[in-house]
Symmetry: D2
Subunit: 371 residues, 4 copies
């Protein structure tokens, strides 16, 4: 693991998620940009002394030489550092699990994509929401044609933790600093999740967007509210709203898709159920672990329906998929179909393109901009 | 009443709504464009023979001469006829209650506005959703500053009854015929409700919009899906979505408003409660008839909380407000504050401006267009 | 109308409900036990002077002699007076619409039943919750066998308006006075509704009950919390809870029925939908006005799904049914099937039996007691 | 770990829960009553060969002698074997984490209680629902007096997986076999959870109960539906319903508590929020990780609100508490206040008493029976 030291949020999440299904142990790491803190934190986590590294370059180099080298590196640092770290480990021959957005510039994203392609190494991007069983259920239903031709996609991701000035909050500080987070605020932090979920679930590719970005809190250097109109291939349209100042919203990621045969609705805060309405019929509540659930959703499930799975389980699914991808790569075999649902380098490139297109469109007063 | 004969939907609604609070009786009417059907329907409703009129012009002229003339006319015909009928009655000195959208052209809307101003007669537009107690609660809270400065408004109005070709359905036929409904489909039928509700609740004026209209069902002559970005004065932004092809949605009008002191959420299908989150505090469920409800919401309430009021009660409120406006006008006194919440000619003009701006923007590939 | 004068709650509800569908007008009444107040209130409601009666006996006698006599009397007085008033009107040949519980003693209930039987006059008891379309949907589904053999019935009716001492509140005062309300508090006021709804929806007859009544608020003379175990014929079982001290509950009447083929759930505060789970299948949301709704539910419906109907509409349905029953009786024909769903004298007798059995059981420490 | 081999449900849950917070590793086990299967499963889980035991007695004896002996044993076998296994390990000096119900007879329960008392060893019973943060929030609020004096407790636990004959389903088979599960069906399996949750949250002790047990599915040897009236000390009353034949219910554990100052509601399937209504005020949605959450709930929390935690996280909390209890015991210090919330031997004894009282009461036609 690189990043995720003392006081980090997402590092701890990654560790719990990695541990849950029993496929991963953290055995080496470089947890902090300060070498001493990095080593100290590693030791505090019970790592062997020679694997509590001072920095990621040493870690990549050292691990590459070990017989018991790490199966993959998990990168949970601020966005601007993803590129350099991922590059280092890929070039050292080590598969990468990386937090999103993948990079802060398209050039960096495409560079990683090229290296991943050249090395053939697994690269998993933790767009964790696509690990939820019912998000996969939605995807499976659309793939199976149960919604027919997709007409409309409405997605939103509403939070409120940045509704006031949060200067001094460690999470807010780096996310609000373009030199660390990249040019997007809510755009990079959460709109990219919404965007990835749309394409993951529907299989559609967004062609052009019209965006209107706002910054409501005085002094903030990045956007905190994002309104986007989407056009997919053909007649399909969509709207995407992401906000971090929507008071009353905790982590409100919600997706609705309407086709000419039916419509679905799924919300991350009540992730266990999916509403499905076949045209002209009664609405159905599809429940994780319940009747009529697809194979892909079932494979992403741990416990019976009614025993709520949540965020860590969805995140763990990405780690389980990653484990299978890494194992299959090592064993030179095809990975399971389930694991192929894990987001990867292509999602990363599209996410960065989305960020750049949204900023360009907003700067041009909403001009429709290609992705 | 003009319109609302055999097979009409909204005519029956108006009659029930008018009756509920006991302020109105239908005593005269012209119910159909076919004179014979008009008279026959009037008689079937128990009207006296000389007040079951063959056409609205005769009705306006005759009623104007009677000592026991009608207190107001309720116009529930297709949109394109509103202007001529409302004009006739206003000029005959009779107050008007009119369904929305007020007219199909801005010229007509402004003409009515001028006549209403000149005659000084009450003109009520049945944007019925602003009659719901909890919509008025939302307005009262915003007026009182409980949300602070408004930042974001998210409104949607999703239906699915037009997800398939409904040719032959009487309601769908006239609503899909631009010569009767005007140039907007979902835009005029439901997006105008959403637009009016936004301005009613927030007190904001929409300055410019960027719209993307779609028609998903082949052969349909008007839009059936409407995506709009909104800009209000200052930094405030919004999104408006209206669709009649959103399978799984019945009559999903939902409004969320976020300010720098709090956020609220209200949905027409669960109209009895309003979610309110003061920044940094727990979310509260404000219930019609319950603790902490404003005077304006209480005045629009009939029965105790927990005994659900719904669509007809909200609609009835507009009719009760209209009764007070008409009575106050007759008695040459100021109407009650409650009744002043009823939508009127100004809402009508803005609604038509909104329709025209949305069409213009969409035609210009989403160019920001003034209202 | 008898009762329902100044300050009454249910009288106003009855008037709105009667008016909504256009079948009834209040043309005569005795609204108060004080003759002067009675007349004054009648006049204030616009009644003709000779029909604003001083007392119900004069009203019954006078109306019986008029050619344009009332079609029915609506009795909305405190429970203890129902018997005498209903008796008087039935004997005068006038159909009765009566609030519940029907009487305060079983002897009185059986007396009314005998008179109703002898006179053959319509007698409608306003157990209004059985007027809700989705309650009728539930009944229709069970009649049609969609739930199979009923196993378990869970019903509850939770309010909180009596969680504190409400002495001085007019509604609370008479409801808490056994000389006016009868021996039951929550038992008579709301548990009877729950009991009637169970038998209405399921078609089951409750055979024996075990009850535990409580009075939580000091000084209160009647129960305010009711726990009952139910046994129906065969193996079927149930639980009934009614409370007026359940803080956070407004008017929480909720019914769940589980059979060997499926289960349903309906709640009065969200009356527009019914949850249905056929065994082994996905749960479905059956919506008023939506797909797959039974004829009986559709007949009790006014406006399209998604446009919420509520308490007054459900109550109005009982009045519409009553109108048809009265008309059919006058025209000496069979009433419509729909109207036969209206609760009547038999429900009234069972309700009073239920009250008496619950009190007897609770007094005997929960001994199973026949109804 | 003892039990939880191939095909077991709860064994896998325990392992994931134990792993999640990083306090536990499975290093030894006896997973099956068949010695060969036991060893094979242990090896498949990556245990060292000498710790993949053939049976629990060998395991207890061997582990007791090791320097690196297990910190605790987790017992996840059918109920009837809990006593012998727990006894063996306690007498070997090893702390016990045991699934519920603790034993199948009161004699056995009291025997374990005596041994636990005598040895002073930690004994944790996995009534996992008391590990949910918002269940602990409810408890903290009641302890702090926010509900005032408790009046009414309504608890239910509804499932439907046994609505049909499930013979051949491994989970159903042992749970329906009194020789393995003990005398209770739904009673032991789920009603005990509901009972424990009531006492955990409210701090009340149930004094007497009146129960009505049913078996709806032909051929079933244990109850599948449980109706119980509860009396606590003083005036407090309650109702408990547990069913495994309630079609449409997955794992519907729901608790409502009403006091003279307020009421709360919590449901396991939507575990992240707690509804709280202070008397006379608006209802509040208390959210895990949100405003106004108690320290005890916060200590049981991993990730921010809106990122749903669920069943495994609640279960993991019990394991984390157990880790602290075991560590504190080893270090001869007081355990944290948080860990003291973990259910233990006393809950186990009360659970078995509850089962025995319910059966006795039901056998005696609902006679009130002491616990």
């Amino acid at each position: 693991m690189v990043g995720g030291g003392e006081g980090a949020f997402i590092g701890g999440v990654h560790r719990m998620a990695a541990r849950l299904d029993g496929h991963w142990d953290v055995v080496a790491g470089s947890f902090h940009s300060d070498p001493q803190k990095s080593v100290a934190f590693g030791l505090s986590q019970g790592l062997e002394a020679d694997r509590a590294y001072a920095d990621f370059r040493t870690m990549a180099a050292s691990e590459a030489k070990r017989a018991d080298r790490i199966d993959a590196v998990s990168i949970v640092t601020p966005n601007s550092t993803h590129h350099a770290i991922a590059r280092e480990f890929l070039l050292a021959g080590i598969p990468v699990i990386c937090d999103k957005p993948m990079t802060t510039t398209l050039r960096h994203a495409e560079d990683l994509a090229a290296i991943a392609r050249d090395t053939g190494l697994p690269f998993i991007l933790t767009h964790n929401y696509s690990g939820y069983p019912m998000a996969r259920q939605a995807r499976a239903m659309i793939e199976a044609g149960e919604l027919g031709e997709i007409r409309i996609v409405q997605v939103e991701y509403a939070q409120d933790w940045l509704a006031t000035d949060q200067t001094g909050n460690k999470q807010a500080d780096w996310r609000g600093d373009p030199s660390k987070a990249g040019p997007g605020g809510a755009l990079g932090d959460i709109a990219t999740h919404a965007f990835q979920l749309v394409e993951f679930v529907t299989g559609l590719k967004t062609e052009t967007i019209s965006a209107d970005l706002s910054t409501f809190v005085a002094g903030r250097k990045v956007d905190d509210n994002v309104s986007v109109l989407l056009r997919f291939g053909g007649a399909s349209k969509g709207m995407l709203w992401a906000s971090q100042v929507a008071t009353g919203s905790a982590n409100g990621l919600k997706l609705r898709v309407f086709g000419d045969k039916g419509g679905i609705e799924w919300a991350q805060e009540t992730p266990e159920t999916l509403l499905f309405t076949p045209i002209g019929e009664q609405q159905r509540i599809i429940r994780r672990g319940g009747a009529g659930v697809s194979k892909m959703a079932t494979l992403a499930t741990r416990i019976p329906g009614g025993h709520p799975e949540g965020y860590l389980e969805g995140f763990a699914q990405i780690y389980s998929d990653a484990a299978e991808l890494v194992r299959a790569h090592k064993e030179k075999r095809s990975p399971s179909l389930c694991s192929l649902q894990a987001p990867g380098i292509a999602d990363g490139v599209r996410g960065v393109k989305f960020i750049e297109a949204a900023i360009a469109s907003s700067t041009n007063n909403g001009a429709w901009t290609s992705i």
